[in-house]
């Protein structure tokens, strides 16, 4: 199973990369754990998680080819 992870705003300052491909993950908690392991600074950041362009609350099961996005507080306009 393959999942795409998109990174935005100030979070990208930490990861440097805007997009990751992650394999063998089952849910969003696993994604966040892996990201935190590689980029410990992410733990301090405030952000929402979107799965397939919808904000999720709590852990969410993923399916193949899903897109997960980490979204820091919006500041458009």
């Amino acid at each position: 199973m393959k999942v795409k992870v998109l990174i935005f705003g100030q979070l990208k300052d930490i990861t440097q990369s805007a997009s990751f491909e992650v394999t063998d993950v089952n849910d969003t908690n696993e994604i966040i754990e892996r990201m935190n392991n590689v980029y410990p600074e992410l733990k301090k950041m405030k952000y929402l998680v979107a799965v397939e362009k919808e904000i999720i609350q709590g852990n969410t099961i993923l399916r193949d080819n899903f897109t997960v996005a980490l979204l820091p507080p919006y500041s458009g306009g």
Partner: protein
């Protein structure tokens, strides 16, 4: 759903006064419109810790923003008696003094146009995945915070 289903709102760089004039003109053949309400967001040259904002660089999760904007638009149309509603948001660099957001609602009557515009502006600020990076005169930056 393919992203192409949703109307694009993003334009590269600032919203120009000429672009705004063009959009107003395009509504003059809609003779059931009695009122337009327009909101324009302009980049301020804020001073933060002794440094001045020279521009904001906007990025977005575009695909998600267009889905969300579509929902906001649908909900606004169902709530207010609107003839039209248009939204344009800049991506990339917008210098201080330039315009980065253009919200344009039209209705037979003024209260619907004004209230719908005001509500859309609030929802855009709160609900659209867009990020502004305030660029300073010394080439440092700070991520913008909406309130």
């Amino acid at each position: 759903m393919p992203a192409t289903k949703f109307k694009n709102i993003f334009i590269e760089g600032p919203v120009t006064p000429a672009f705004i004039a063009e959009k107003i003109l395009a509504h003059q053949d809609k003779v059931n419109i009695g009122a337009h309400s327009i909101f324009l967001g302009q980049v301020r040259a804020d001073e933060i810790n002794g440094k001045t904002v020279t521009a904001i660089e906007y990025t977005s999760y575009e695909e998600m923003a267009l889905v969300k904007m579509h929902a906001i638009r649908e909900e606004t149309f169902s709530k207010f008696e609107l003839t039209c509603a248009h939204v344009y948001h800049s991506l990339g660099i917008v210098k201080s003094g330039e315009i980065s957001l253009f919200v344009f609602t039209s209705s037979p009557h003024r209260r619907a146009a004004i209230d719908a515009c005001s509500e859309m502006v609030e929802r855009i600020k709160k609900e659209l995945p867009v990020w502004g990076k305030e660029l300073f005169d010394d080439e440092s930056y700070k991520w913008k915070v909406n309130n």
